[in-house]
Each structure stands twice: as C-alpha cells, then as structure tokens.
Symmetry: C2
Subunit: 643 residues, 2 copies
C-alpha cells in the first residue's frame, strides 16, 4: 500500500534507541503517500527520537511495467534524495557475494553515521537538521531465480513477478524449479536427516532479537496507560440547558493540552495544520509544532522538540500515528471532516489489521486510533461545497463492529466524557465528530457522564410526554442536528402546546444497530421503549441520512422513521442556510412533525403555513444581509421543563 | 486538495499546442498526491503532447504552520527539482516592480526553452526525455498586504492567511483596510465615474483568450464523440446459459483495444500497472505503456508514444484522467477494486464538480469518468484480506444521484453492452465491477442487450415459477453472487422440485432505489411486480449487504428481504471458501431459502442437513487439498428451462 516509510518514522518518534530500517520498493515509491513521506526527516529529532534508515530497493519492475525511479539517470536519482534531505549510499550489482560484502560495509558506514549524528545531538543539543543517510539498493528483479524460462529472459525482468516459471504443469518448468532450488546447495545447509545444520541455525537471532518477537513489533507489550487528567475539571458550567455557549472542541483542547503536559514521551498530536483551526490552540501553552527544518522568528510555536506533528498530508499524519500506536504509544488525529476521506484506504488497512490482531492471543492490545473530525459539514461558511462530506462515518461502519466506534457528542461536556473514554480504550478506531464554533451547551457534567455512559438517552428536560402518550419522537445525533431539533421542539411547543414530544439524543451511533450486529447495540426491547413501536420518529442526523436507515431497518418502528441529514446540498453560505438547503432546519423538522403525526395537519395547517413563510423570509434576509436572521442567531432554548 | 499538477498533465496529453501553467502552493506541495505528480514529466511526449510549466509558489506558510519546502536550504530545493527531472528557475524577492520584471523575463526564458524542446522533438522525433523547465517563485505570504496589525508582523507571516486584519469591528482595523486598499492607488485605475480606465481594461485578454472562456476550461466545447466499434462484434457465443466459460474483462479488453486503435488522439487508458493483470492485455496489440524515461529491451510494451498510462499511483491515474476529461477527451480507469478507495477524496471533488457544472447552462457536457474495478473482493486467492473491500460503491452512492451510475454485469456480453453505454454517456461517474477469472457466461448478446437496457430482469430460463405462485425470489447482483445464486437454484431444484423460484438479476444497481431518489429507479409498482409484495427474497450481492437495505428500505416487500454479501471475512484462501466465509455460497443461500419459505423447513430438514454436511466436507477438503472440491470447480448450470 505504500505507507511503510511514514509508519517507520512513527515508530522512531520518542524511541531514542530504536533504528528502523525500512525497505521501500520502487513500485510503492511511486505512490503519493510514499513520495511525500521522505520529508518525514524534517520532523525527526536525534536528541530523543530514534533513527530511520530508508532503503530504496530498485529492482526495476512492478507487476508488468518498469518503475519510474529505476529509469531515471543516476545524477537525477542522487539529486532527488539529496533534495529530500538525505545522503544516498548506493549498493548496486548482481553478483551475490560481492553484493553481500558491499551491503554489509555500507550498513556499517551508515549506522556509524547515524550514531555520530545521535551522539552529537545528545551531547550538544539539537543544532541543525542532520543529513541522514539512506541506501539505494539496485538488484535484479527475481535475483538468483531462473535466468530464462521458455526462451524468455526472466531474471531481471517483469516476468519474475510472483511465480517466475509460470504454470508447473508446463513441460520443463518442474526441472527449472528443481535447478533453481538446487542452486541454494541444500546439501550444504541441511544434514542427512534434513535438519538445518546447527552452526547455521545459530546464526539466527535469539529471543526478543527475532523480528517478530521484538516488542516494538508487538507494541502492546510496551504500552503504558496515559496519565489522564480528570476530565471533569474542564467542565463547562451549564446551569440550565442551552444557557451558555462554548466552543466545544476548544474545551477539549484544554484536556489535550494537559495530556501533552502529563505524558511527555508517549503522546503526540497529529494534524494536517489544523490544530489551531480546530480550536486545540491551548496545546501551544505547553508545547510547539514540531520541525527540525529551518525555523524563523515570526513562526507561531514551532520548535524541534514540539509534540504537535503537523504536515499538510493526511496520509503522513495517519502513517505517523499508526506507527506510533503500533509501537505502544498514544495519539490523537485532528482533521477537517471532509478531508479525512484522504486516508480511507489507510484506515481500511489499520481496521483490518486490528480485526485480525484481535484474534491472535499473543498480540497485546494497543491504544485506539482516535480521530477528532471538526470543521464539519454544517459549518463551511468560508469554504463551501468542496469541504462538505460527512461520509467517513459511512466508510468506517463497513468495517468489523468489534473494532469501530463512532461518537457524536452534542456539546462540550459530552465531548470531554467521550474523549476520556476513547483515550482509555484499546484496539478500536474511535471517530469523534464535533463542531468548533460557539454553540449552546446542553448538559451539566454529571448529566453528560450519564448520557455518554449509556450512549443514547431520552432528554426529559426537553420532552413533554411524561406521564402521557407520546405523539412524536424527536431524535438527533450530532451537534447541529441537536440544536435544530431543540429549536423545532421549542417552536412546536409554542404553537402546538398539546403536542406530546419525546426528545432522544444519540452520542454513540452504534447504539442504533441491533445487538447482534454491534456490541454497543440496544436490545430490541430497549429500542422499542425509547423510540416507541408505532409513533412517528423525526430523526435529525449529522451525516448522510440513509446511514440511519441502514443501522435501524430491522427495528420494530422503522417504517415510521423519517431522517433528515446532509444530502449533498450546500455552498458558501450562512450556517443556518446550510441546514435549510438540506431540509434539516427547525422549520422543516417542525413541518415534518405536522405532516406525520396523525390528524395534526388538519389542526396545524396555519402553523405549517407560518413555517413556510419563515423559510421565505430567511432566504430574502440572507440574500440582503449576508448573515442569518437575528431570531436564528440569537435563539436560545426556552422549552426546559421546570421540576 | 493538492491534485492540480496531475490534472495539468492530463490536460496537456494529446494537446500539442497547449501550455498549461500550473501554480502549486507550498502547502499542497506537502500532500502525497502532489509529491508524486512531479514525476508526470516521465509520461509527457513533446512530439504530440503540450507542455506543463509548474510554478512552485513558496510563500512559507499554510494556515498556521510553516511549509516544508520553504524551510529547506536552497541547494536541497534545487536538488529536489532536478531530481524530479526539471530545470528549476528561481524568481525570489519582495519588491513588486523588480519581481514583475524578473517573472516576465523568466517566463520568456522558460517558454522559449519549452518551444525549443517541442520544435526539436517535432522535427527529429522523440529521442530522450527533455529536462523541462519549472519556476520556483518565492514571495512573502500576504504580499503587499498590511505589514503590521495590532503590533504583530503580518505580511510575510501566517497571520496574513485569510483576512489579515482580523475582525473588522476592532478599532483601527477599518483604517488598516483603507490604507491597504488605497495602496493600489485606485485614483489612477478608475475614472471619475468609478469605471476602470479603458486603456487598462484593454490590457485584459479578449474572447476565448480569457481564462474562463478558454475552450480547454470548458472541455465539452472540444469534445468529439468516440469512434466506437460495434460492441456486438466481440460477443461471446452463449448457446445455452452457463454453457461456456470466458474471462469477462478479457473480452472487454478486445473492445478497449479497438477503441485505442480507432481513437488515436482522444482516448487513453489509465491504470496503476494493472492493465495486464485486469486482462486488458489485448490493448498491447495496438499500443504500448507510455514512458518517456529510459526503456530497456526486455521491457514489455513500453514506448514514448504508448497510450496506456501506468504509474503505481491511483492518485496520479485519477488526476491525469480527470484533466484529460475536463479538456474534452475520453478515458477509462482500470483498477483493483480494493485500492480505488485511495482516490475516494478525489472522486468526491470530481462528483461535486459534475453536480455543480450540470446546473450551469454554459458548461458543455464532458465524457463520463469510467472505472473498471476488477481483481475484486471475491477473487483474492493470492493476496487475501488486505485486498478485499467492495466499499467504493457505498462511497459513490452518497453522491448526487444525477451524476453516479453503478453497474454489476454478470458476464462478458452484459459487460460489453454496459461498456458501450458508459462510453457514450456524458457527465456521469460510471463504476463497473467485473471479474477477470474464467467464469460461466449466461446471456447471449441479444439477451444481454435487453437485460442491460432494462438494467434489472427476471431470468425466466433459471426460474420455475411461471404460471404458478412464486415461493421465493432469488435475486443477485455481481458475477460471483450470480454464480452462487444459480448454483443454489440448481441444488434446490434437484432436492425440492416443487419449490417455485424466481431468479432476478440486477445489472444497474440504481434500479433498486425509489424513482424519486434516482432517475434509474424502478417505480414501486414495477418493483412489487418483480420482487412480489410478500414472498421471501434471498439477495446475493457483490458488496457490503447493508447497501441493498439502504437502497430498498422503502419498498413494499423490504421486511422479507434477506441479503448476503461481503461482511469483512476473508483471507488467502480458495475462491469458493471466500463465499463460504461470508455465508454467500450456494449452500448457505439454499439454507436461507429453506429457513425463510413458510412451511418449507419441516419438509426440507434433511436437505438442510445435507447442505450443512457439504460445508463441513468443503472445509476438510480445502484444508487437505488447497483447492476447491471438484463438484464446485466443475459445476455447471443444469436448471435451464427448455422451451
């Protein structure tokens, strides 16, 4: 998949005694993620990081075609790797014995060079970015394999990809295989009984020096729990639901700051230059952006020992973080929601790895891969349509239920509780979606903790169906959908005070799935209790609405479920217009209720008319003023039930 | 998004008179796709392609952090771009008048260099890859903007990102804005009435020399229909359903070969080195892989004028193809199914672009973006779990229905028909999933054409419910699911001859959606006629099963729909074991029927027992023999109804 070099650097960060030798095939070297990963050397600090020795292996061919890097002149190749900041050492040839000696001598040379760099930096502190060595190894494809098969050159050509002599049923091919295998002179390697000669067997490394038994390759063995600050200490005071505003991810940023402070050698933040933008700026009170390249006085919090890893490559962030986690450390990836799709394919491989590793008893659990997705689909007033895509969630839920978790905290206190939970978890991929703009806060910390522990809950303070029959269930998942749902409830209570509504908020999206499909899934009885067996459900959801149907199609009351969400309508517009364009605003939700509660339309035709008029007024207002109507901007929740 | 340079090359291919100047920001230059796209120059032929002039713009900052390429020494920077195969020309400074002159002089220099290269190649033929010029432009971020705001250096720093003076409500900021704007000396640019002075207005290009009016920027204006061979000429003769085997994509490859032959200047094939692997080898009868880098005698069909664009970077293939389509040409992207997720984010942007362009009346339609996804999830006997992911379809269906189409042809003749349709279409993204291994062929060309025109159909030759009541609907979409469904029908007819089954095959996945959701969607009446209103439906689907639920949850008979598909179970195993691991094999499908047809279990408990025993036998057999049981490998369809 071509991501190995960024993984290698992730493994080397904060591992001062580790040398990661990373062989890069010339095929994978053509991929984009690999092509930019060479620049990882601008983020490696010889004082407290280990070293990476990249070995570019040029054998000249992919499956069928030649590779790019094997077909450029030597001066260009050398210039390229000097340009990437390395000193390249060439190991080239096709005589095995000569090549073994040349490789051994070169390895001695580059490891002493690496040791010199480290010794100097550790004695004298970091001065300037070193020019790390790397090796360019050029050897024939299918080296030492059959030279010619069926009259066609094979060694050194694409024909030696996979099985060089092709179908074994072909006459002569068995003989070629036999000659090839005899070329290894098995009579010198094995004794009469067919056992590997003991003097040779002894050459292999022992114990934890064996590659697969190296604890860095089973990072859970090295994993230490994080020192976690008490997340309740960052709580936003919410005397009454909707009574205060806060920047949700900004509050989380304070927790992240203290995590960085308390865990100086095994926790890092990774982001494509979005740490500040996603409101984690507090981390710069205790650390910096990492760079071992040139730093200028006007730079904002950049230092060679910074623990915030920012490069404008989601691939690089993902690869670094995976490498860091796989070697037993912890981290958090903060990204704009729409652009996390860039790592869809890398996420796939990590989730597949977790699924398989979960069933290998000798593999020790590693820290979960935690994503904060902010600057999300509903708040792209500056960037517009190109930045609107909540589909990473859909991509994630296709993977095995045992390894994936998705959280949509509606406010800061729920986000704090979810974050704490994710940081304690092991062997999951945790996706958290939360907004960064100032927004109303709903739950006190005590309420938030209960809500997050259950993952889904009836908000009685916003409901008015207690003790009576419910007319409609108002469900929501995500911060903006929660806001619009509560605003719709507010409107409906004002206009239709007899309507009995139940408000349900979903933090843990997997609660919606049947218990048999996901370990977090609600039982059917619990689901029916919450969502009723036969009342209309109006569900406002953060992402593509059909995901909610896909999660709930087996539930009793699915036929009455009506979901609003993002349906690829958007532009550079006001925040409220974004929800209007996707029919998820308070007025649409209220009209959905009027349309779907049996018998209500006849009584509420005037209310519905008024909602429609509001949407026309909204459109005219934003066209004229470029911002939302004051009644939208200044709206606060009034529907709280007093005890 | 960082893909602009590969788009620029896509625009330049086969456009001999076009010079594409492409400004690459130093932020986007950090992304993986951009980092590898510099190597596009190894695929550009000065004889018949235009030229690309990359202008790397170093302004030093992203949103908040410094950029990598602005912080490496000049000698590394120069080495990097020489290593990428360019001659870099530096334009650096901060005095506007000096910089204008320097830039103008440099542009004169590099364009004359480009002309020299082209003239030579066009007079003397292609000899060796030229060292194309590129420009490294270094200027301050926020250049000529406010120097200092609130006592903080702004021009030349990250602070000039977006709005350099921040909130306009802040005292003094309006004044800074005014001074800045006055710096442009508007009194010299506009007359008394506020009109741009005519001598200045005349400097702007006229007519189609204006950037947005350039026909290359509205490629539909330049689009010529493809010369399409008659796809029926490649038909596989299918005297009886299941009577012959063929490599489905291999047959398609013959059509692609003739497309290349008939359209020598406006059709190319793009693939990450999978053209041969995906069985399109026939194209090499008429063309080659493209490379202007070094070519060796043992290379397989590589030439500087090849029309098969292979680089091991899905990003590069996607960017090249998009650029080629956007400038009015045609192409096809052939990829392994699992790895097409690598371009999820690029697909997103193209689909969003199409959606918006569709509603701009002056934008002329362009050729559709066509994907062949092969080496698919069900046939990874060599590669295993890491190569198994059919989720690109799920990703695609989240985009606007008006621009996306998904086809799952079950055999070669349906694939030919679908391919012809996709090549004639405009402004869509067409995703075709088809296998490359020898597989039974079901439909004659006449039958295939009717089946594809309708997109979904009842296969009466495989059904036995004519004239009577249907007991169960056996639906399938995809080649392997179709095979297993027909094998299940075969088994059930043998064991339970009274069972009345209806076989439905889906080629055009969007037929399943409600008419209101997708223009291809079946009406509810038609859906009910095919799938019945109340009989069990056993649906074998190529991808993640829940997608079928998401497409059909509003249909009358959804409660009786039972879907089998890929559920993330797999390894390096036999082909049949892959379907067994995911419960989509003939035995599981037959047991599903027995379990779900009311009253059948009581009569068929022995049959179910036999199916279970077969699965045990299968497991034992493959463990011992490493291949599938003969009855699986040699199975042919026997259930054809004779007229």
């Amino acid at each position: 998949m071509g991501y190995s070099l960024s993984h290698a650097y992730g493994a080397a960060f904060d591992n001062p005694n580790l040398l990661v030798a990373c062989v890069v095939g010339d095929g994978e070297a053509e991929t984009g993620p690999l092509a930019t990963s060479w620049h990882s050397n601008k983020f490696l600090n010889p004082v407290h990081d280990g070293a990476v020795l990249p070995i570019l292996h040029l054998n000249g061919y992919k499956i069928a075609g030649p590779t790019v890097l094997a077909r450029i002149p030597r001066d260009e190749l050398e210039a390229l790797f000097r340009g990437y900041g390395h000193t390249p050492y060439f190991v080239e040839g096709d005589d095995p014995m000569e090549m073994h000696q040349l490789m051994a001598a070169t390895l001695d040379l580059v490891t002493s060079e690496i040791q010199r760099i480290q010794k100097d930096a550790r004695a004298n502190g970091f001065k300037t970015r070193p020019r790390w060595p790397m090796i360019i190894l050029r050897s024939p494809k299918g080296w030492t394999g059959p030279k010619v098969v069926d009259g066609k050159l094979t060694e050194g050509t694409f024909r030696s990809h996979q099985v060089p002599m092709g179908e074994m049923s072909h006459p002569g091919h068995v003989q070629i295989l036999e000659e090839w295998m005899r070329g290894y002179r098995p009579q010198e390697l094995f004794d009469q009984a067919g056992r590997l000669r003991s003097e040779l067997a002894e050459l292999a490394p022992q114990g934890s020096r064996r590659m697969s038994a190296n604890p860095h390759a089973n990072g859970g063995l090295l994993l230490n729990d994080l020192h976690l600050p008490d997340f309740r200490g960052y709580a936003v005071k919410v005397p009454v639901p909707g009574g205060v505003d806060a920047e949700t991810t900004g509050v989380q940023g304070q927790l992240i700051r203290d995590l960085v402070r308390l865990n100086p050698v095994n926790f890092r933040v990774f982001s494509p230059d979005e740490t500040s933008s996603n409101r984690w700026g507090a981390v710069f009170e205790v650390t910096n952006r990492c760079s071992t390249a040139e730093i200028l006085p006007q730079d904002d919090h950049v230092a060679p020992d910074g623990r915030v890893m920012e490069m404008l490559s989601e691939h690089q962030c993902e690869g670094w973080l995976e490498g860091y986690l796989l070697t037993g450390r912890h981290g958090f990836f903060s990204c704009y929601e729409a652009f996390i799709h860039i790592v869809d394919s890398m996420f796939n491989q990590h989730a597949k790895w977790l699924k398989v590793a979960n069933h290998l008893p000798w593999r020790r659990p590693i820290a979960s891969l935690n994503y904060l997705l902010s600057s999300h689909v509903w708040r792209q007033d500056h960037n517009g349509f190109s930045h609107q895509d909540p589909g990473f969630i859909d991509h994630v839920v296709n993977k095995k239920a045992e390894v994936i978790r998705i959280y949509l905290p509606p406010d800061a206190n729920t986000l704090l509780s979810v974050t704490d939970h994710c940081l304690r978890s092991r062997n999951y991929v945790n996706v958290i979606v939360a907004g960064k703009q100032p927004a109303p806060q709903w739950l006190s910390m005590d309420a938030a903790m209960v809500h997050c522990a259950v993952g889904i809950g009836l908000w009685d303070w916003a409901s008015n169906d207690t003790g009576g029959e419910t007319d409609v269930v108002m469900a929501c998942a995500g911060d903006v959908p929660t806001l619009e749902t509560l605003a719709a409830v507010d409107l409906l209570r004002k206009h239709l005070p007899d309507l009995k509504m139940r408000v349900i908020n979903v933090v843990d999206l997997m609660k919606l799935q049947p218990q048999g499909e996901h370990p977090h899934g609600l039982s059917d009885d619990d689901f029916d209790l919450l969502f009723t067996k036969n009342k209309p459900i109006i569900f406002a959801y953060h992402g593509y609405p059909w995901l909610i149907h896909r999660l709930t199609y087996r539930r009793t009351n699915h036929a009455n479920l009506h979901v609003r969400g993002y349906k690829e309508e958007g532009t550079t517009s006001t925040p409220f217009n974004m929800v209007v364009l996707n029919d998820m605003d308070r007025f649409h939700l209220a009209m959905d209720v009027i349309d779907r509660v049996p018998g209500l339309l006849a009584k509420a035709v005037g209310v519905k008319q008024a909602m429609r008029a509001k949407l026309v007024e909204h459109k005219r207002y934003i066209e004229k003023n470029g911002e939302d109507m004051p009644e939208i901007r200044n709206w606060t929740f009034h529907g709280v039930n007093t005890p």
